[in-house]
């Protein structure tokens, strides 16, 4: 089997849980989009072209409010700015001799989950691995939206509630294993969670949108950690 095929298959396998988690979340999105007055086609195309949870939920609010396109652009910019950091990080894992056009296609699939799984893969990141992840994740996201928009609340609430934690379980499965061997990483994860909790409780800052909160905390904590605990070459390539 060629390397491409191997990478693509590995990507699909690792992408299945992402796709399943997406199915649950996008189902909820589909229901909300239908409630907001979008047609099934509109909701489905929205999910296929945007592939982002927080940005889409916020976008629905903007559409409902009948706000201007400029306001929509600004909302999406703020909420999704974290992808900019992720793309910077991802760019460092690509082979120098990788054909340039891959970057345009890989960019489509920079989501929290796909990024989290890609960046934690050892060594150089193959675009074919990313395409595998995308191939498994995008149908889940798009199809889930379609189902939600068509069927409304056909799934029992019990099941939806349970599926709601799938993505968080995945996040933990991405960040915790490397932290087992690395006390600094563990500390950073705990500090991040603590700060996130504080942010959701304190007056004033708790009103900040979730996308903006992620940006602020990421810049502060990752920035501070990079200053206090600069990463050496060896740990980087572990």
């Amino acid at each position: 089997m060629s390397d491409r095929k191997k990478e693509y298959r590995a990507g699909i396998l690792d992408g299945v849980p992402i796709g399943l988690g997406y199915l649950a979340v996008s189902f909820t999105f589909g229901i909300m989009a239908a409630d907001a007055g979008l047609t099934v086609l509109q909701a489905t195309i929205l999910s296929l072209t945007n592939l982002t949870s927080a940005g889409q939920f916020a976008g629905l609010g903007v559409i409902q409010a009948g706000a201007s396109f400029a306001e929509m652009a600004l909302t999406e910019l703020i909420i999704n700015l974290r992808y900019c950091l992720m793309s910077c990080s991802l760019s460092q894992k690509l082979a120098r001799n990788m054909p340039f056009f891959h970057r345009f296609f890989m960019a489509y699939g920079v989501t929290d989950e796909i990024f989290g799984v890609s960046v934690c893969r050892e060594g150089i990141l193959s675009p074919w691995y990313s395409y595998g992840l995308i191939s498994a994740a995008v149908p889940g996201w798009t199809f889930g939206t379609l189902l939600g928009a068509v069927s409304g609340s056909i799934l029992p609430q019990r099941l939806l509630s349970a599926l709601g934690v799938a993505l968080y379980g995945m996040f933990l499965a991405v960040i915790l294993p490397p932290a087992r061997k690395n006390k600094i990483l563990m500390g950073i994860i705990l500090v991040s969670m603590g700060a996130s909790l504080l942010f959701s409780m304190l007056p004033v800052v708790s009103g900040i949108s979730s996308g903006f909160k992620i940006i602020i905390l990421t810049v502060l904590i990752a920035g501070g950690a990079a200053f206090l605990f600069p990463v050496k070459e060896e740990t980087e390539n572990e």
Binding site: V16, P17, L20, G37, Q42, L46, N50, T52, G55, V62, M72, E76, L77, N80, C84, L85, M86, S89, S91, Q92, R96, F100, R103, A107, Y108, V110, F115, R158, L159, S161, A162, G164, V165, A166, L167, Y168, G169, M170, F171, L172, A173, V174, I175, L176, P177, L185, I188, L190, S192, M193, L197, I214, T218, A222, A225, A226, F229, P230, V231, E236
Partner: protein, 102 residues
Amino acid sequence: MSNVFGYIAVMALVTYLIRMVPLVLLKKEITNTWVKSFLYYVPYVTLAVMTFPAILEATDSPASGAAALAAAVILAYRGKSLIQVAAAACAVVFVLELFLVR
């Protein structure tokens, strides 16, 4: 509501550009140690911030969310795969809510 597709186009364009521009512009390897370290830490901070405390509010009862968190932490720490951890977290919520939520 007639220009829903207009809104969708704006959303898709902005979101794609945010993802694409850094990937296309950053062709060289970054040598600055601080920037490298910063980018290395980004996913851990981002995913941790997104997970907690949001997981407690993702279900119908905070207690089942907390139980899912505990189960996922234990399994993830033991190095179980993505799908195993995610499925276990869902299963814990489902079973607990049979008792917790009427």
